[in-house]
């Protein structure tokens, strides 16, 4: 429960930075525009879960570049403000605190994506609300984990580099990761899949989508199962948590070496 209370405080602080959510609304609209052009049936009763999944992928890709640049001081800001010592003197663990900080701030930025998905899901469902549930599942499986991963990568890079350099590096790192699709060959399940940041594998495995990037041409596997998608989702979450933990520990170490 304390995690939620802590996250709420950081949500409140992020909400008071109007530039944050204004940019996120703008980027969401751009992503929705791209998806509507590529999938004209997205917001019509003739649309399908594949359309919603594609919208989820664009919502995960386009705004995430902004997340990668915006979260570089998440781990280092408390040290800069002197708050870190107070927070470290309390029973809450630094990893839990940073996770609450990331969650609280990120929620302010990704709620427009959730709204966009739910609205499109609603418009696909004149006679039932299965597509709304699908929209929420797409949000949970693609948009949110991708956003968290971008934010965690940003916080990690921000804990290592000066802020101005960190923002550029984090955004560039995210673009490289997205463009090259895989981090490293990672055997996952029977199909020996590779981990894909663009969520191709997860969208294929859960929602039956076609890949945005042709993995066959890059030497990847042809198809991902739901099991592959589940494992990749777990790996992504684990990687996010690991980046958050390392960012928190590096910031603490640097804080007390400086003084």
């Amino acid at each position: 429960m304390s995690f939620l209370r802590l996250a709420r405080v950081h949500t409140r602080m992020a909400r008071r930075q109007s530039a944050l959510w204004a940019v996120s609304i703008l980027l969401t609209l751009i992503a929705v525009g791209i998806a509507l052009i590529a999938m004209p049936d997205l917001a019509k009763p003739t649309g399908s879960q594949v359309d919603l999944a594609f919208l989820g992928q664009t919502l995960g890709l386009v705004p995430a570049i902004a997340y990668a640049a915006a979260f570089t001081d998440l781990a280092s800001a408390p040290a800069r403000l002197g708050i870190m010592e107070i927070e470290d003197s309390t029973p809450v663990s630094p990893v839990k605190l940073l996770a609450a900080r990331v969650t609280g701030m990120l929620w302010v930025m990704i709620w427009p994506s959730a709204v966009a998905l739910v609205v499109c899901g609603f418009m696909q469902s004149p006679n039932g609300f299965l597509s709304v549930l699908t929209a929420l599942a797409v949000f949970a499986a693609t948009v949110a984990p991708l956003a968290f991963l971008a934010a965690a990568l940003s916080a990690f890079i921000g804990s290592l580099l000066p802020q101005a350099l960190a923002r550029i590096t984090a955004a560039a790192a995210w673009c490289v990761v997205v463009c090259f699709t895989t981090f490293a060959p990672m055997p996952v399940g029977a199909s020996r899949s590779k981990m894909g940041v663009v969520t191709d594998a997860i969208c294929q495995g859960f929602f039956g989508c076609q890949p945005v990037i042709d993995l066959d041409a890059m030497g990847g596997s042809a198809a991902y199962t739901a099991f592959d998608a589940s494992l990749l989702l777990v790996l992504r979450i684990a990687l996010t948590l690991a980046l958050v933990a390392v960012a928190a520990l590096i910031s603490r170490k640097r804080n007390f070496q400086r003084k």
């Binding site: 008071r16 003197s89 309390t90 070496q257």
Partner: protein, 289 residues
């Protein structure tokens, strides 16, 4: 709360022996912690607060070794800490910030957090600005928010580092009174360069220098270090060679120097020593480190 520090040492990469074989038993009540910059005061406080791990030695709080994570967590629940440099989150109001600190300290009851926050805001004189964002506060007002957050959760151990820095004289007096009240039934460790604050509020004082303990005991005993050695020179006299100049006092006749010397300088008169005199006498005696 009884704190026992045993052979404590701390090395940093860029500063070996920030603390060097420190052994002290700290009683409950108000304890002053003084020393020059780089003496190790802040390092000691961070170790006592469980923020930094010592390189050697141990710290027992009421018999429990805070090296164990469980004991450290228990200590932090009843700890209030005010670091030297603090900037509360600027986009929060004082009430919101205190509520946040209350959550950090494990206070689950929302009403209790609000009650304490309201009471502390009143105590530090910020009632008029309780709903204004901290970003618009002066340095002294932010400091008072810092003092209030240290008191959230009614801590049994209060560690304050330069609490009156940036406060105007009236605020300093108010804070001194507040600390004295708190010291009656808990342990308060006050680190400060303002010896007058220690003299007024702390019956017990520790002096650190170059990571080592130079003095610990009753504040009166530190004053006694300069007993029979404190002199006030006549006007327009230069400080005698070899004497330690504590301060210079200007009056209508010229400048008089308050000095510490084993023998009375010519033309000087003896004066009753203060804590400042005792500290300077001790510092001179241990100058070789």
């Amino acid at each position: 709360m009884f704190i026992s520090v045993s052979h404590l040492g701390k090395d940093f990469a860029k500063k070996p022996r920030a603390l060097d074989d420190l052994t002290i038993d700290l009683p409950s009540g108000m304890i002053g912690l003084v020393g020059p910059n780089g003496a190790g005061k802040t390092t000691l406080m961070r170790i006592l607060c469980g923020i930094v791990r010592p390189s050697r030695g141990n710290v027992l709080v009421d018999g429990c070794d805070i090296a164990e994570a469980r004991n450290r967590r228990a200590l932090k629940k009843s700890l209030g800490y005010l670091p030297q440099d603090i900037e509360p989150y600027p986009s929060l109001t004082p009430l919101e910030f205190l509520d946040y600190v209350g959550v950090l300290k494990g206070m689950d009851d929302k009403r209790e957090r609000k009650r304490q926050a309201d009471e502390l805001i009143e105590r530090v004189g910020l009632a008029d600005v309780r709903t204004r964002r901290i970003g618009g506060f002066s340095g002294g007002m932010r400091r008072r928010v810092g003092i209030a957050q240290a008191l959230m959760g009614d801590p049994q151990l209060l560690v304050v580092d330069e609490p009156t820095a940036g406060l105007d004289p009236e605020e300093r007096m108010r804070f001194r009174t507040l600390l004295a009240t708190l010291g009656r039934d808990r342990t308060v460790i006050l680190s400060t360069h303002i010896l007058d604050d220690v003299a007024q509020t702390c019956p017990y004082v520790c002096v650190l220098r170059k990571g080592r303990l130079r003095f610990d005991g009753a504040t009166g005993n530190l004053v006694d270090e300069a007993h029979g050695r404190t002199w006030l020179t006549g006007p327009r006299m230069v400080p005698p060679e070899g004497a330690i100049v504590v301060n210079a006092v200007g009056d209508a006749y010229g400048t008089r120097y308050r000095v510490i010397a084993d023998r009375c300088p010519e033309g000087a008169e003896p004066v009753a020593p203060t804590l400042e005199d005792g500290y300077m006498a001790l510092a001179a005696g241990s100058a070789d480190g």
